[in-house]
């Protein structure tokens, strides 16, 4: 049996574009591709393998995402699809697409800063200068390191007074 691994096959390309229609249920403006959690799509004849990595270990959206991927692909006739999970290298917000960052901002969530700047265990570290997605002021304060989901922190804008989510660097 010869293994054909053609990353440019029609099937693989179509699966990538279908995955762009699968959105994160918690942040519905981002597709799973934008989020950077699809690590690979492989073809072996008629069989396909999609390699995913979770954002956070306990992210409850992962099960929904896996089910949605299966449904979307099934609708287009992809029946032999295997979803595998990899943990290493660990997901980082640096893998989020440029388009994804723009979409987040337009949706009212501040996009993540590059991780090497701020992912430190230092205590009471200088708050990241996060731009308010509503009025674009940098005069903002962190209210809580943990927001409505594991991947977000809660901020408040001191100028327009609006609270907002920041997709924290990871």
């Amino acid at each position: 049996m010869t293994k054909t691994d053609d990353s440019n096959s029609v099937g693989v390309r179509q699966i990538w574009s279908l995955l762009e229609q699968v959105n994160d249920p918690e942040v519905p403006v981002l597709s799973v591709v934008d989020l950077g959690i699809i690590r690979d799509v492989r073809a072996n004849g008629e069989d396909f393998e999609i390699v995913l990595t979770p954002t956070y270990s306990g992210c409850p959206a992962m099960d929904v995402i896996r089910t949605t991927i299966r449904m979307v692909l099934l609708e287009r006739g992809y029946t032999k699809v295997r979803l595998t999970t990899v943990l290493s290298p660990a997901w980082t917000t640096d893998w989020m697409s440029e388009g994804g960052r723009e979409k987040l901002k337009a949706y009212g969530i501040a996009p993540p800063l590059p991780s090497q700047q701020v992912c430190r265990p230092d205590l009471f570290g200088r708050d990241e200068a996060i731009e308010c997605p509503h009025c674009h002021s940098y005069h903002t304060t962190r209210i809580s390191e943990f927001g409505s989901t594991a991947c977000k922190a809660l901020y408040r804008c001191e100028d327009c007074k609006e609270p907002f989510d920041y997709f924290k660097c990871h």
Binding site: Y56, G58, C119, P121, L123
Partner: protein
């Protein structure tokens, strides 16, 4: 029927020990969900609980795979995994909901009751500081599955450590009331910290072959980190870990004796109550889903 080779059995125990640590502390934290002192901190602790339960799932899935593969090998049947009772494969759920207290190998620290907010925070801090150094090292494990889980978990623990450290300082160096409560919490929890640095029997051989972390070697970094935060929090160092090391307790050291046993399945009474609640549904309605 050949028994599993010693190293596999030790690896199975080790993975379960790590999984149980994460699940039990995750469950304890989840008891705060809906009861936190303010909404933001309720959410913070619930998020930490989610991370821990997520880490536990990876570890239980790995343990289940080891157990099922061994069982299949023993039966000379590569396709049918039959490690569980009645020939049913072991799963992450059967490991979490189907074992009794003596099968759990978590450290005693994580099973201690929540008490007040101060005790919960201090328990999280003492354990996060350990996990921080532990996962840093486990990333070098020769077992690639454990190394990958460690790499993922480490990033999450950085947040847990920072959040809990800040709260220890805020409360320890806060009001008279919060300071007294932190001292009380320290009295209650300190005796369970020594165990974090004592390898269980199954751990030692795995350290020798580069799979497990040498926890004894983490002690100095842990003490330094915890000491820094305690100093800032105006909390006195409770004393040397006497009984586990050569007696180096200085003047005024008050808590020298350390309780151990959790890693070998000998627990405080608290774990039984926790499991009774956590496992109730699966015990009453086995295999129930909703």
């Amino acid at each position: 029927m050949p028994l599993p080779s010693p190293i596999d059995l030790k690896l199975q125990y080790y993975v379960l020990h790590l999984a149980d640590n994460a699940l039990v502390l995750g469950h304890r934290n989840s008891e705060w969900t809906g009861h936190g002192p303010i909404l933001e901190q309720d959410i913070a602790l619930s998020n930490i609980a989610l991370d821990l339960v997520g880490q536990a799932r990876y570890l239980y899935q790995y343990a289940a795979r080891i157990m099922n593969e061994k069982a299949a090998e023993a039966m000379g049947n590569a396709s049918g995994a039959m490690a569980g009772s009645g020939g049913v494969p072991v799963t992450e759920d059967s490991l979490a909901y189907g074992r009794d207290a003596w099968d759990f190998r978590n450290c005693l620290l994580v099973e201690q009751t929540n008490g007040d907010w101060g005790k919960t925070i201090l328990r999280q801090f003492l354990f996060s500081a350990w996990q921080y150094f532990f996962y840093e090292q486990l990333q070098q494990s020769h077992d690639s599955e454990l190394a990958a889980i460690a790499e993922k978990s480490y990033k999450e623990v950085v947040y847990h450590l920072r959040w809990s450290s800040e709260w220890v300082i805020r409360l320890g160096d806060g009001t008279e009331e919060s300071h007294v409560r932190m001292e009380k919490a320290l009295d209650q929890l300190w005796k369970f910290t020594g165990e974090l640095f004592v390898p269980a029997g199954y751990e030692k051989e795995l350290v020798a072959v580069g799979i497990a972390v040498d926890v004894e070697a983490l002690r100095a970094s842990w003490e330094e980190k915890v000491g820094e935060v305690f100093a800032e929090a105006q909390l006195a160092w409770p004393g040397a870990m006497r009984g586990l090391t050569k007696d180096t307790a200085g003047e005024g050291a008050k808590s020298e004796w350390m309780q151990t046993g959790g890693k070998d399945g000998r627990h405080t009474e608290e774990l039984g109550y926790l499991l009774a609640e956590m496992q109730f549904l699966q015990r009453a309605y086995p295999g129930c889903e909703w």
